[in-house]
Symmetry: C2
Subunit: 287 residues, 2 copies
């Protein structure tokens, strides 16, 4: 814990919602992440499951912890919940704040290869290696190192899916709210992938859930995809869950797609169904 | 509904969280308020109870609807929930944004008598007359006009208590999170009351729950007061719930004070116990 600085701690549903800052070696900058310790973390010799939550475009580590109401369900199931920021912070690369869907707060949970992004924009390795290991070591007295799940929203839903599919077995359970399911085929993804990865579409396929699932060869996995049918970005074909479902079916990977009538892309929608997602993860992680 | 402009509408827990703007005659400016219509509002010939929620210093109509998670409980009980802003907006009185605890977003739910505040700063009448009547008329097809309750947080807890005690029978149920219980005797209240009401402490007593309860002569009422024991402002004696409890006991008004170990003044705290408050109100309003 020496390298973690406590930024805030608030009691909620019997546990504590904390935010820590640390110097990231992958991103070469100071980063915040949040961690919810449920009331069960207060016991002796506990080994609790962990769920990572990855947020969407424009978010920080704050949106999910203040708006989703997840703590009620994490407390009920006894699950630790970790949520990182959405990009490197404070590194000041020219053009990094020109748009809301590229650069700052739009890291896309991948490892960039193009200059000038490749030095800092390594959110893929940050989440699946550095932060994963920090949680295992700094909270080793609380965490079951074999019971990690992951979920996310929009860009973070894409992040949850690719983090799972690229690293078989690392996350035992995965779900997503309104994920960008096929970034190679939508405007958000095309812009981000061109900027971070260049023009080679073979590179893009390595960070695209719809492509990755076709060659998935790890432990059995069920993908839970949640989508608001009234979501503007769904209608604009930024999210394309049907492409992911078709790819899953072509290779026999189980997938559940829940379409929610009239719900939009906001945390109002997420807060309504986050309890169902915790039930889904708890069933797998506590099996 | 002609005079109400819909600002936003988002589906949550099967109902709709809406925000409306309107021209307020009491405040002489344009105001926003939020209203949650639970799924039960979709039925025929429904007459649903209504709870008003009054927010604290620095808030708008947004904080409660994005951070408390109340919609889950309102949907469960079938209750409409209305939340106004915390002061007149856009009226630009000299000094109105010099401090965070007076003027803009600090209307204290009273009717000012001192110049230059008396023209616009009439949040007391705005809540208990104008907005109350707008809800009864604009939503007359959904609302049971005899079943209104009220709750609030901090400055809004003060607002909920004085709105109830000054207007016997107007609100059938009342509760508060970390309310300013005795504003005449704390720094926040002394500053606001001096500015809005002048130096006459007889005027102050007309807007102070601890004073008002001593002469309450209306229908039977139980006050539910919730307080985080780790709340910085509680420790600094801005809130003084013990003074209100003592006053209630001196005149035989039932009061419940729930002290919550280690909880603070934030929405993390409110979100933990808002479900209990909905249970309390529902029991009274649906009796």
């Amino acid at each position: 814990m020496d390298s973690l600085q406590l930024v805030s701690s608030n009691k909620i549903f019997g546990g504590y919602q904390k935010v820590y800052a640390h110097e990231s070696s992958e991103l070469k900058c100071k980063m915040n992440f949040s961690i919810y310790l449920p009331p069960q973390a207060d016991g002796d010799n506990v080994k609790l499951p962990v769920i990572f939550y990855l947020s969407g475009l424009t978010c920080t580590e704050q949106n999910f912890i203040t708006k989703s109401g997840f703590q009620r369900y994490a407390a009920q199931h006894g699950i630790i919940v970790v949520s990182p920021d959405t990009s490197p912070r404070g590194v000041k690369i020219p053009g990094d704040d020109d748009s809301w869907d590229f650069g700052v707060s739009a890291g896309f949970y991948l490892d960039a290869v193009m200059d000038p992004w490749s030095k800092h924009y390594r959110m893929g390795s940050y989440v699946t290696k550095e932060l994963y290991e920090i949680i295992q070591s700094a909270f080793s007295n609380l965490v079951d190192p074999t019971k990690f799940g992951i979920m996310g929203h929009s860009m973070g839903g894409h992040g949850a899916l690719v983090s799972t599919l690229r690293n078989p077995g690392l996350f035992k359970s995965v779900s997503a709210f309104a994920p960008i399911c096929n970034p190679s085929a939508c405007p958000w993804g095309e812009k981000a992938f061109t900027g971070y990865l260049g023009k080679d579409k073979n590179q893009w396929a390595e960070w695209d859930a719809t492509e990755l699932v076709k060659k998935y060869d790890g432990p059995p996995l069920t993908l839970l995809i949640d989508q608001g049918a009234g979501d503007k970005f769904y209608k604009e074909k930024q999210l394309l869950p049907e492409n992911l479902v078709e790819a899953c079916r072509s290779v026999g990977v189980p997938v559940i797609l829940n379409l929610r009538e009239d719900y939009d892309h906001s945390y109002y929608y997420i807060s309504t169904y986050i309890g169902e997602h915790f039930d889904f993860h708890a069933k797998i992680l506590k099996a």
